[in-house]
Symmetry: C2
Subunit: 143 residues, 2 copies
């Protein structure tokens, strides 16, 4: 993790009026080090010296602030990924494709993919949507 990356995280915490603490910076470092979402169990393993409860509280406040978003995978396990843009406090815009590999179980946030338009039956009013796909990821296809 570079100095400049760490500064970016500190700035991010500042922006949201959150104290720059070790556990919080570590969560951001862990999550940003990967190109996929991180499951809660994995994260708990990575954050060894940090209390479980503290981790839950960090994840909750980060989600509320629009720093990260939560994705439930095929097994109902919570996964977390850093929001790339547009997300604000209590107003997420994570309308991208989430790809869940059925081999390695990884969840990919495919932000660049624009979702096609669709319409709802009368009476329904949508304010958010997500497309989930499941299958095999590039890594697992190669083998």
């Amino acid at each position: 993790m570079t100095e400049i990356t760490n500064n970016r995280f500190e700035h991010l915490l500042d922006l949201h009026h959150l104290k720059k603490t070790g556990p919080r910076l570590k969560v951001l470092a862990m999550m940003s080090a990967k190109n996929t979402a991180t499951s809660q169990p994995d994260l708990e393993g990575l954050m060894e010296d940090v209390d479980r409860v503290t981790l839950y509280r960090i994840l909750n406040v980060f989600e509320e602030k629009g720093i990260i978003h939560k994705i439930f995978d095929l097994n109902g396990t919570a996964n977390y990924a850093i929001c790339t843009s547009n997300c604000q406090e209590h107003l997420h815009h994570d309308e991208h494709l989430h790809f869940n590999c059925i081999v390695c179980n990884k969840v990919y946030c495919l932000n660049d993919l624009s979702l096609p338009a669709f319409n709802l039956p009368p009476g329904f009013k949508a304010d958010g949507f997500t497309l989930y796909a499941s299958g095999t990821c590039p890594q697992c296809n190669r083998k």
Copy 2:
């Protein structure tokens, strides 16, 4: 519940070589009596005299056989709905829109809505997908 409906369920269990037991027929009756998916906690409440574990086992075997499918709502709670068609053992085709109301929390299976096509980045191979939308449902919009 009509006689003919009950017969349909018994036939369904026969088809999948499952014994026609009280708990199983009750699960099917409860789920088919609604136009939305049923959450696991709700189902557990409805199945009072049936053991929790039995309910889990029924839900698991029904899902395996392609009789019902599982949808996780915004809170990560498991919801179940009867499959309308096309689903087979270990091969679900529930590629429809799931609408999660943020007021009443209900999950609607909008089977009739055809999903628009989309394409994946190179290397990804999808074998299933679901579109999730969240917002307010017709009932909750009326108030």
